[in-house]
């Protein structure tokens, strides 16, 4: 089987799920004839028609709300945010309406909201965001953020088949930069299970999305230059979070670095740190440390963006500090 990029894997996932289940349909801005801002939905209109590949007005509240209504009626809509930065326009209806539907009204709401996320692409403050932490605090939502092409495809299938709303974050830096040979057949990656991206003994890096690759680069450098054996845990799912995998890696290495691309204050690393504190405090040999973005809106110019976002060398430096503690 040919190699597929992260983007192609997502497109394959959409195609296969729409083929498999006629209740699956897509909505979003410019996703039809144009194929989406990043061409994720290219070819969908030709294959499935305008009834199932719907170009919407510029109204995230409008079509996310419409997705909820359709989901109540037994459909499985997939909404594309043209950039995930715009999901904040639908924040109220997602957190107040969609997330509470099952609990307060016994209304099923199986739907997916997906979109290109993240920085390192010179996108500036409104085409680079990582808003996952804003939704982690909302019971009723699920959140996934894959780092590999096969996870992107397998998690998208799980998200579409899930009976609740799943926010599916796609890292646009990874869209065309990584590729792999995808497993044959209908392979589903379960929501809520982390992936051990690299085994190690001396310290653990817990991360997700694009920084998984930076952590892996850092791990190689640390092995080469310092002789350190670094474990990398790719969370893949943020809500629910795989506590068992987190505790297992803490018990194994006793030193933990939590890395993400989102800003540090109120970021998911804080939640992970709290869980480690509650579940495995006595297994630690050093304080849990965070490597994340500086608390600033993401600037455009390369020297600025590179300073704000966590880089491989930042992870290396932090890991050395942790190893020496």
């Amino acid at each position: 089987m040919a190699e597929a990029t992260y983007l192609e894997a997502i497109r394959q996932g959409l195609f296969e799920e729409m083929e498999r289940d006629p209740s699956v349909f897509c909505m979003g801005e410019d996703i039809g004839a144009y194929g989406g801002a990043f061409k994720v939905t290219e070819g969908l209109l030709d294959r499935f028609g305008a009834e199932r590949v719907i170009d919407t007005p510029i109204s995230e509240t409008g079509f996310v709300g419409a997705a909820a209504g359709a989901a109540h009626m037994g459909m499985r809509p997939v909404c594309e945010m043209q950039f995930i930065d715009f999901v904040s326009c639908a924040y109220s209806i997602l957190t107040n309406y969609v997330a509470t539907a099952r609990y307060r009204a016994m209304l099923p709401c199986p739907m997916v909201v997906r979109g290109p996320s993240g920085g390192y692409v010179r996108g500036g403050p409104f085409h680079s965001q990582n808003p996952e932490a804003a939704f982690l605090h909302t019971p009723g939502l699920k959140i996934v953020y894959p780092a590999t092409a096969s996870d992107a495809k397998g998690l998208l299938k799980s998200a579409i088949r899930d009976d609740d709303c799943v926010l599916f974050f796609e890292h646009k830096y990874l869209y065309r930069r990584i590729k792999e040979t995808l497993p044959e057949g209908d392979v589903v990656v379960p929501i809520g299970k982390a992936r051990l991206a690299r085994e190690g003994r001396d310290l653990s890096i817990i991360t997700y999305a694009a920084t998984v690759w930076k952590a892996l680069e850092a791990a190689e450098q640390l092995e080469r230059e310092d002789g350190l054996s670094v474990e990398v845990l790719d969370l893949r799912s943020l809500l629910p979070m795989d506590d068992d995998a987190i505790v297992a890696t803490v018990k194994k290495t006793n030193r933990v670095l939590v890395v993400h691309e989102d800003t540090v204050t109120g970021g998911i690393a804080g939640e992970i740190t709290a869980r480690i504190n509650e579940l495995a405090f006595e297994w630690l040999d050093a304080p849990v440390r965070r490597v994340a973005a500086h608390d600033v809106p993401l600037p455009y110019a390369p020297p600025l963006e590179d300073f704000v976002l966590p880089q491989t060398l930042d992870i290396v430096r932090a890991a050395r500090w942790l190893a020496a503690y």
């Binding site: 199932r52 409008g62 209504g69 109540h72 009204a105 194994k252």
Partner: protein, 367 residues
């Protein structure tokens, strides 16, 4: 205000509504009013544990519009639409249990008042408090009817206040573009909490907003139940034909405060009394039924007695309903997992300590 309705004795109305149906409309309005009066009693006895929202003076809007729907059509009520929900099959017992936060209420004590629904049999959807949000949701419900080529229609209510929200705009625009079989009813009761419609919107007529979406905007006397029925019936028929969305503005008046606690100090003196005296939807309808339609007043009194007995019986049952089991609050946030765990300190400190796995001593250990 121009009264646009026709009399019940007019041929057009007679052709559409039978005598039994005309009495039906009276029954639903009377039930709405009496059930709310009962809720006021229970509220004063502190048996209604949250706020109480009345639709006094607006019963014709709710009942007349919902009466134009078929059982398979889906309705999305607002807080002043108790009457619509009753027409759609909600029972007084359900409403009383909801208000009294009972464990066997439709939402098992999770939601308040008339925030509940049933999309499997009776086809009405539980609203949320964020005004306007139900418009995009109903756009999606009716988009599904269109996709499945089902001859079903949706009806969503908003107030004058909600027409100012972004969600209203985005939802009605989406539905109009997609030609969804949707009727959007704007119940203009002149106040959004304390804010008069003149401070909500500079347009003279909210129905004129329809022009901006390329859809028809109709307006009717919301205190004339037959006029409400007729205008809704026409909009519903248009939706069912595949001609898309209609905006219907119903002119009415909110005679009680936003909720029972609201003393309405912001209302000009005499305004409420004037509406109560001159334009009560039930009084107007009784005059029409016993006048032009030739209904014997005794028949209406018999309906009143029936309504009273129904509400009495439902109250007796609801008062005996148990409160929810506290731990039920953890159930059903997701389909999977079906239940959330209780936080550790609720399990008892001792058991939490016992279960907490610790290494033999502090520091590095072999995993």
């Amino acid at each position: 205000m121009a009264v646009t309705s026709t009399l019940a004795s007019d041929p057009a109305v007679r052709a559409d509504l039978s005598r039994d149906q005309l009495l039906d409309l009276y029954y639903w309005m009377r039930l709405t009013r009496l059930l709310e009066e009962r809720l006021v009693n229970l509220y004063r006895q502190t048996k209604v544990v949250g706020g109480l929202f009345r639709s006094l003076g607006q019963e014709a809007c709710a009942v007349g519009s919902a009466y134009a729907l078929r059982p398979e059509d889906v309705l999305s009520p607002l807080i002043r639409n108790l009457g619509s929900m009753l027409v759609k099959g909600a029972t007084p017992l359900e409403v009383l249990r909801q208000y009294m936060a009972k464990g066997d209420s439709p939402t098992r004590g999770r939601e308040l008042n008339i925030h509940f629904g049933d999309v499997t049999e009776r086809n009405f959807i539980g609203q949320i408090s964020h005004l306007g949000d139900m418009v995009p949701v109903m756009a999606g419900v009716t988009l599904t009817f269109k996709m499945r080529k089902q001859p079903r229609v949706g009806l969503v209510y908003v107030g004058d206040g909600a027409t100012s929200t972004g969600a209203f705009h985005e939802g009605i625009n989406f539905a109009a573009v997609q030609r969804c079989p949707l009727v959007v009813v704007v119940e203009n009761n002149r106040y959004a909490y304390s804010t008069p419609t003149s401070k909500q919107c500079a347009a003279e007529r909210l129905a004129d907003k329809a022009a901006g979406y390329g859809i028809p905007g109709l307006r009717a006397d919301g205190n004339d139940v037959v006029a409400v029925y007729e205008v809704t019936r026409d909009a519903v028929a248009r939706a069912r034909r595949g001609d898309g969305v209609t905006l219907v503005e119903l002119m009415t008046y909110r005679r009680k405060g936003h909720a029972e606690h609201d003393n309405q100090s912001y209302v000009p003196a005499g305004e409420i009394d004037r509406w109560a005296r001159d334009n009560d939807p039930i009084d107007r309808y009784v005059a029409r039924l016993t006048g032009a339609a030739g209904v014997d007043p005794g028949e209406l009194e018999a309906i009143d007695a029936r309504v009273r007995a129904e509400v009495d019986d439902a109250t007796d049952v609801a008062e005996k309903s148990p409160p929810p089991e506290p731990r039920d609050c953890l159930v059903g946030i997701y389909a999977d997992p079906p239940e959330a765990p209780a936080l550790w300190y609720r399990e008892g400190i001792r058991s939490a300590v016992d279960r907490h796995e610790r290494p033999a001593s502090w520091g590095t250990h072999d995993g």
